[in-house]
């Protein structure tokens, strides 16, 4: 369902910086439905990829075969991302906080971590440069603390300073798609507020899943459940082996 909800956020023709897993599913679902001209960019250098199998990594050979362009990674970061050509980027992480800051580096302190996570990858530059960022993550109090242990990728406010003050070109994380609800950044404060619930989910269920006093948006929508076509494509065509939907 998260993949279906994220797919609906994508507009036809948009240049999309794709991560592996759910973002990849969401992009391919959108391509199969309302956005056939979505341009998929992978940090590995595949531009306009058209994979004929579900890629297991962002450097999968199926992203190369039949793509529009394959370029060095320096070009991906300089000429596409920093150049402002990427419309939407996907991010996820072990921790996401009230301001949309994301931690993929460490749980605990940097010097003596409780859990060492993989690190930054291309996430900081996506967070800085993509015109907008969609965050995908299952809801849980552990994953949504009031403040992340380490800001790997900047959200709407970091250490008390806004994106504008910090001089970041992109709009940053504007929406967080979870398995229970959608949070959106408040345009004036940047705080992530509850704007839509999945069918059958109560506001309290979401409140329990975040580590800060959750604000509820002025209009609280209900997310439409997945359509039969969305489910069919996801289960039968895009991920028949249940690699990401298990």
């Amino acid at each position: 369902m998260m993949a279906a909800v994220a797919a609906r956020e994508l507009r036809d023709g948009e240049v999309t910086f794709v991560g592996i897993g759910l973002p990849n599913l969401a992009c391919n679902l959108a391509r199969a439905l309302h956005a056939p001209n979505l341009v998929l960019i992978y940090e590995s250098g595949a531009i306009g990829a058209a994979p004929d199998r579900l890629p297991v990594s962002i450097g999968d050979p199926s992203l190369v075969t039949g793509s529009l362009m394959v370029c060095p990674m320096a070009d991906v970061f300089q000429l596409f991302l920093q150049n402002g050509r990427v419309g939407v980027g996907f991010l996820g992480g072990a921790q996401i906080d009230r301001w949309g800051n994301i931690n993929t580096t460490v749980v605990g302190s940097y010097r003596e971590p409780k859990v060492r996570l993989p690190g930054a990858g291309g996430a900081p530059e996506i967070a800085v440069h993509a015109r907008r960022v969609l965050v995908i993550s299952r809801l849980s109090a552990r994953s949504f603390p009031a403040e992340v242990d380490f800001v790997t990728s900047p959200g709407q406010r970091s250490h008390g300073r806004s994106r504008r003050e910090l001089g970041m070109p992109g709009a940053g994380p504007v929406k967080v798609v979870t398995d229970k609800a959608i949070l959106e950044s408040d345009p004036s404060t940047g705080e992530m507020v509850l704007t839509a619930l999945y069918p059958g989910v109560a506001v309290e269920d979401v409140e329990r899943g975040v580590g800060w006093p959750l604000r509820v948006g002025a209009a609280l929508d209900t997310v439409a459940g997945p359509t039969g076509e969305e489910l069919r494509l996801l289960r039968e065509v895009l991920d028949p082996r249940g690699l990401y939907l298990s």
Partner: protein, 301 residues
């Protein structure tokens, strides 16, 4: 000009030394496990390993005790989980591995600056992140025209870089297609360069399509011919990525005993990549690529 073709054993013995900063590059594609295994077999120590994605290849080298320090931007097992040898070394008290950490763009910029022999590279990046606090080598520079503050990282100039290519001639003029990662930048940034190839070809094959040449022979010190040298990584047009092995590594690396047994069997227990492949006869059949050959273009005038 004399041929630079040598065995992997001789190439590693001649060019990789204890204490070196070593780069084996390749983003998912063309990661030369054969070279890493030979480094492990020759028991190199105190290496600074640099790579955007340490991947299973550096997890194996860390487990084998080759590494003193890691310079990197993303240390996971893509699509499968963690690098557990890496995590054990970092989560130990005291830590058994020094870390110097950037984002991908930061690593790309370090190698690009190194390749151009500039002392630093510039990005618009790192505002609001804790990375500069974790790594004092992430600094800033002011634009002499606009006054803007930008991120700066130091050049990375490895002692030795190993890149894998689909083909090269015996001088090391190497051609690559599919994902190119930062191989060119890493090779030009490096003091010494080893090129490993799936196929050794005549110079005339290189000269027939010069736009495909990624690494010129004039910066190459040794050429090693090692078919299947990237497994479990892949070589476009030759063989697929062994995703099953990447998934299996999650379990192997989680258990130090199993990891040791893996190295004993597949690294210490074989003399070279040819033997590694002979011992696993099912690999070639399972992963061999179906050909999908593009049309050529005309270089006439």
């Amino acid at each position: 000009m004399h041929s630079k073709v040598v065995t992997m054993k001789d190439a590693i013995a001649a060019h990789v030394r204890d204490g070196d900063t070593l780069v084996i590059e390749g983003f998912t594609h063309l990661i030369c496990f054969a070279a890493a295994h030979e480094v492990i077999r020759q028991r190199r120590r105190e290496l600074t390993l640099a790579r955007l994605t340490p991947d299973v290849i550096y997890d194996q080298m860390i487990a084998a005790g080759c590494a003193r320090k890691l310079i990197f931007s993303w240390a996971g097992n893509p699509g499968a989980g963690s690098l557990h040898a890496f995590r054990r070394a970092v989560e130990a008290r005291p830590a058994e591995l020094e870390l110097e950490e950037y984002s991908h763009f930061g690593m790309v910029t370090r190698l690009s600056a190194g390749a151009a022999r500039l002392p630093f590279g510039v990005m618009r990046n790192y505002m609001g992140t804790d990375l500069p606090a974790a790594n004092p080598l992430i600094r800033t520079v002011n634009c002499p025209f606009t006054g803007e503050t930008l991120a700066a990282v130091p050049a990375l100039n490895p002692d030795v870089t190993i890149v894998h290519a689909q083909r090269a001639d015996h001088h090391g003029n190497a051609q690559v297609w599919g994902l190119m990662g930062v191989q060119k930048e890493a090779a030009f940034a490096s003091k010494r360069v080893i090129v490993v190839v799936e196929e050794l070809v005549d110079e005339s094959v290189i000269r027939a399509d010069p736009n495909r040449t990624l690494i010129p022979g004039l910066i190459v010190d040794a050429v090693v011919v090692e078919p299947w040298g990237c497994h479990p990584s892949y070589a476009q047009g030759h063989y697929d990525r062994d995703n099953e092995f990447y998934v299996a590594w999650e379990e192997i690396s989680r258990d130090p005993g199993r990891l040791r047994a893996y190295l004993d069997e597949h690294v210490y227990g074989v003399t070279d990549r040819a033997e590694y492949m002979r011992r696993q006869p099912a690999l070639a059949e399972r992963l061999g690529a179906r050909p999908r050959i593009c049309a050529g273009v005309s270089y006439g005038y």
